[in-house]
Amino acid sequence: MRRLAVLAAAAAVLAFAPEAATAADAAAAQAGSGADLPWWAWPLILFVVCFFLGIVAVPAGVGGGVLFVPIVGGFFPFHLDFVRGAGLLVALASALSAGPALLQSGLASLRLALPLAVVASASSILGAMIGFALPTSAVQVALGGTILAIVVLMAVAKRSEYPEVREPDAISVALGMNGVLVEAGTGRQIPWQVHRTPAGLAVFFVIGILAGMFGLGAGWANLPALNLLMGAPLKISAGTSSFILSLVDSSAAWVYLNKGAVLPMIAVPSVIGMMLGAKIGAKLLRVLPAAAVRKLVLALLAFAGLRALLKGLGVWP
């Protein structure tokens, strides 16, 4: 009975996000650029939507940035340039806030992160520049396609708690990309190491381009790359993935700043709303049924991805 009540509460929270987005969409359609509403209305609506997105992002295991860009880009009157700039800052602020605790607890590995972050940082600059060079409709179509691919990846990708790495590669050994994980409760020490570092570097190059081009946080790609490809334990992969974002998004954020695509009136309510929501989401982690929330969030993401695709194609302007 209690579980049912909790599930109903989660569904209500999730139901609010698309409803708010649909309300925003209707208002946007009515007001064109949103000029018929008072200037403070859109930042306020944005703050509320981001607050709810932040709440559901944590139990769903989805980064705020990946939810933010397609939903706000699809249903708010802001140009995609400003939405991508704000999305990048949402992902950056979240990653920076989580970074110190992840490093102190050993759940993020600096030595594992640094080589991958250098490659992804450089390519994120390239991705941001490509995003500004392409027509907006082309970026919308590519964003929609990427979001739909992310939904499929998140739905089908397996995870491995402790992947087997029989022999680390020479690069990972030279760079000290290894460590010891201490299990809670038992105190058992589990040494870990990684392999396939060259392939990992290549994948992170592509991840950086996508992160820079669309302003998405790239945890959805970092995690499987670290866990399934390179063989890092799941918890180390999750922590290191978040930490890598703090470096990758720093580089791309500068490109958006230099291009004038960071509008404080859009970016700051988004960052504050998402971070406050994430704090509530973390507190609700034990009571919310994570699997059900994740399914609902993926459905919402698929809808937003489809919207971006159709908007870019001019089918649903």
Binding site: G32, S33, G34, A35, L37, W39, W40, W42, P77, F78, H79, D81, G85, L89, L92, A93, L96, S97, G99, P100, L103, Q104, S105, G106, A108, L110, R111, L114, A117, V118, S121, I125, M129, T136, A174, L175, G176, V180, V182, K235, S246, L247, S250, S251, A252, A253, W254, V255, L257, N258, K259, G260, A261, V262, L263, P264, M265, A267, V268, I272
Partner: protein, 137 residues
């Protein structure tokens, strides 16, 4: 809680500085945005004008409000909306001191490749910040 009991010296130093940088950046951002929203300092673009502009591409927006790309905004730092960018710049920059701070640890322990990687990452962020790559210097 799962994790190593004591973080390595490089991680501990990085984490300490990152916490300071992030908290300072977020606090600055929130305070400056409060000043901007309350209208305590005049913005470069009036609040009421934004809904007519935010549906435009960033390049058109800059042209209409007479702002230069790159670091041109610093010339108008006395306006509340431009001033808010300081908080964002602090967040985008706060990894750099952390990277520089761990370099001596890698140098002292003979890990020259990690030392170089930190230096390259600082150079990448600095290059992005300069605006030369994005044509906005």
């Amino acid at each position: 809680m799962t994790g190593t009991t004591t973080p390595a010296p490089d991680q501990a130093r990085y984490a300490r500085l990152l916490a300071i940088g992030t908290n300072t950046g977020l606090a600055t951002l929130a305070i400056l945005f409060g000043v901007y929203m309350l209208g305590a300092v005049d913005p470069h673009v009036p609040h009421e004008r934004l809904p007519d502009l935010w549906h435009l591409p960033a390049a058109d927006f800059l042209e209409l409000v007479r702002l230069e790309a790159g670091w041109g905004w610093t010339a108008r730092i006395a306006h509340a909306d431009i001033l808010t960018l300081i908080g964002i710049v602090m967040l985008a920059f706060c990894s750099v001191p952390c990277l520089i701070a761990v370099m001596p640890i890698y140098w002292a322990s003979g890990q020259r490749v990690l030392f170089a990687i930190c230096g390259i990452e600082v150079a990448v962020i600095a290059m992005a910040a300069s605006g030369y790559l994005s044509g906005g210097h």
